[in-house]
Amino acid sequence: MYVLFEQGNMEKIPIRIACVLLVLITGIAACDKLMPGVPADDSILDGPVEGLSPEQSAQFIRGDFAFNDEIFTPETGLGPLFVATSCGTCHAGDGKGHPFTTLTRFGQKDSTGNQFLGHGGPQLQQRAIINYQPESLPEGATFSRFTPPANTGLGFLNAVSDADLLALADPDDADGDGISGRPNWIHVPAYIQPKPGSITRANKYIGRFGKKAAAHDLLHQTVLAYNQDIGICSSYEPYDTYHHQEIDPEISNQTVLDVVAYLAMLKAPIQRDPQHPEVQAGKKIFIDLGCGKCHTPELKTGTSPIAALSQKTFAPYSDLLMHDMGPDLDDGYTEGSAATAEWRTPPLWGLGLSKKAQGGQYFLLHDGRAQSIETAITAHGGEAAASRSAFIALDATSKARLLKFLESL
């Protein structure tokens, strides 16, 4: 046998070997370089907001598990019709989704409501468990595809007061700048307890989550997602999407609330290189082009039961209001009181990290049709038409700076 050491006059070899092994073990155990490092905070989207109490941290961990690790099966309530088998399937790393998990919503053309609720509306469940047939789009139904959004910073968005949002609205374009944001006024289900200071109009509340801002708060959004996306009924939403019958809850209220708390306590994305001259120059161009009129650079939270979210100034680059984006982005489908061409301004924070959640490439705009930031900008119309034209007219250097700024978010 070929060996590196043969028996001979090396009587002390066993001791030496033992010493070498001991040093090796100690060395390996002590060597941090052999272990993966913690990713920089600004390079990932997940992680809790700073300043949580121990109880809040514990709830965050429970919610994190339920959101990212709890995979539903038919035994645990999946379906029978569904889009995804877990929350984390659509929001990898808490980032934006991929066309694989794009939702299809259908059946509503105007504020009179959805005309296809009896035909599987408002959401298409294009997947089904074994021995069930998934849904297909009913004939004549207009529809829109929604790419899942990033989850980060939702607690901040949730904590902005209604009054602050209304202050940003200009539904009749009174200032004549061509921008006329307005809230989507929606009916809320009975299980929603509007927070203090909520403003109503004709018994409707402001929606702020979802592509059409059709969800009032994170509980509303979470309950709908469990029900419509995974086919999980809860005591909040007990109607099964297949049989349309009330069934026993398939998830506990506590788990739903843990997930809501998790979403609320996710940190806001952290901008990379904000002081870089090119990034600074790009931000100035962004403002000069008027992009910031909808993609509002800064908002402030009101009072939140989570102290770490109270009275904080943050940078979502959104006003959470509905804006007419023109015919190219008008799919003929809407929710709440919004028009079909209106979309809620998506927050731009975390934009530069989207590729890390979308399989290495961008899938931007509401349906993921834009595979670059530039394509997404040039698809803007309606209220954003002037900004789009100004962007197209930029020289190459200015465009590069603007894109560098956007990718830093």
Partner: protein, 408 residues
């Protein structure tokens, strides 16, 4: 005082018991020395102790380890694990009828499994009958999985997380070997109970053949009434090594229930190639296995669950020192490396045409010390790169493991 009396009593009893040990009572049963062992012989290629002249032999192995894992910079700290305690009982019922069973306790008593319990009847060397709980001969690791045989703390990922090692079922079959100078040819053919639809509907969120092992009823009844076929042919040259080709296939879904047709029959196919060889002069032992899985799914079923999978591993084990150490005459110190890869979802997204990832690549350098051939102490360092379904930047996992495994 009470404790002192108990301790004294125990001491006296054990001292007495020790004095009564008959050195001839427990002995290694003679094994055939003229035959060439192949992977298919693994269940009987184990050390047994025979009790006097009784036709029953006992054996087993134990595996325990320490590990420190770190995934993306986050660790759960130091862990001590009792991975397996396995008992073998074999019995020579007559000259050509024998019985062997393997009962395994995993992770303490978290899992208790009968991994093998079969009666073998030799008609001629080329034709043996086997029935009971058999280990389906897909690849080599499934039948040759004893901890003390390997230089690595973890079992190969492709063998346990894509293929379902250890994969045992109730069934019957035949096997045999033919010798021709330096060559040996072997075959195995079995019909057993098979898989169920958990393989495409489980909490792993991927096509996962091991999910079927959760179905305890499979030792009592077939999920769909269609036998699973497993067959393997292997060839071995005493000087070159062994090559095996195996296939396992059957229907995994419940296509009919109470006489009512629910779906068409959906097939699962697994192909595997395994090999092992020892390089001349260097004495480097190379062991490897690669498998391909193909699952027939409903067209509109979620792409989360892969229609095709592939994966395998290659182990390189290089003896570095072979000489008496610490009084062990046959001690060997080895350097080893395992390279492994699994793609749980081989295909492209319908929506984008892009690659579906859900894969893992792993390197495991290792040092092992064998004071005797039946006992191994091992130090492993593992580094995994794992992509999610979408192919996002990989998750990094590193592990430092120290453990032992020994037959007893």
């Amino acid at each position: 005082m009470k404790n002192f009396l108990i301790a004294t009593t125990i001491f006296l009893i054990t001292s007495k018991a020790k004095a009564q040990i008959d050195p001839e009572l427990l002995r290694n049963p003679q094994t055939k020395t003229d035959s060439v062992r192949m992977n298919m012989d693994a269940v009987y290629s184990r050390p047994f102790m025979q009790l006097g002249k009784l036709p029953v032999a006992l054996g087993g192995y134990i595996e325990a380890n320490y590990q420190y894992l770190n995934e993306n910079g986050v660790s759960e700290g130091h862990q001590f694990q009792m991975r397996r305690l396995t008992f073998f009982v074999s019995s020579t019922i007559s000259k050509r009828i024998k019985f062997l069973t393997e009962i395994e306790f995993e992770d303490g008593t978290k899992e208790i499994n009968i991994e093998f319990a079969s009666v073998d009847l030799e008609i001629v060397p080329l034709l043996n009958l086997r029935g009971g709980v058999v280990m389906n001969p897909i690849g080599a690791f499934n039948q040759n999985h004893d901890g003390p045989k390997w230089e690595f703390v973890d079992r190969p990922i492709a063998a346990t997380q894509m293929l379902p090692a250890t994969w045992s079922n109730v069934g019957f079959g035949i096997y045999g070997k033919k010798y021709n100078k330096n060559w040996v040819y072997g075959y195995e053919l079995y019909l057993t109970n098979g898989f169920d639809d958990k393989i495409i509907s489980n909490s792993e969120n991927r096509t996962f053949l091991p999910a079927t092992k959760m179905n305890r009823d499979r030792f009592e009844e077939s999920f769909n009434g269609i036998p699973l076929f497993t067959g393997k042919v292997a060839i071995k040259n005493r000087k070159i090594g062994e090559l095996g080709i195996s296939y396992m296939g059957g229907v995994y879904n419940k296509f009919r229930d109470e006489g009512i047709t629910l779906d068409k029959k959906r097939k699962l196919n697994v192909f595997a190639v395994d090999f092992n060889s020892t390089l001349p002069r260097l004495n480097t032992v190379i062991t490897g296995e690669w498998a391909w899985v193909n699952v027939d799914m409903p067209d509109n079923y979620t792409e989360q669950f892969g229609r095709k999978q592939q994966g395998g591993f290659v182990d390189f084990v290089q003896p570095v020192v072979k000489r008496p150490m610490f009084g062990f005459e046959q001690a060997v110190l080895n350097a080893a490396l395992r390279v492994e890869y699994v793609d749980w979802n081989k295909g492209t997204f319908k929506s984008t045409g892009g690659n579906i990832a859900d894969d893992l690549f792993s390197l495991v350098p290792a040092i092992s010390w064998r004071p005797t051939p039946q006992t191994v102490f091992r130090i492993n360092y593992r580094y995994n790169w794992q992509h999610d379904l979408l192919g996002n930047p990989p998750s990094h996992l590193a592990a430092f493991q120290v453990g032992f495994s020994t037959y007893f």
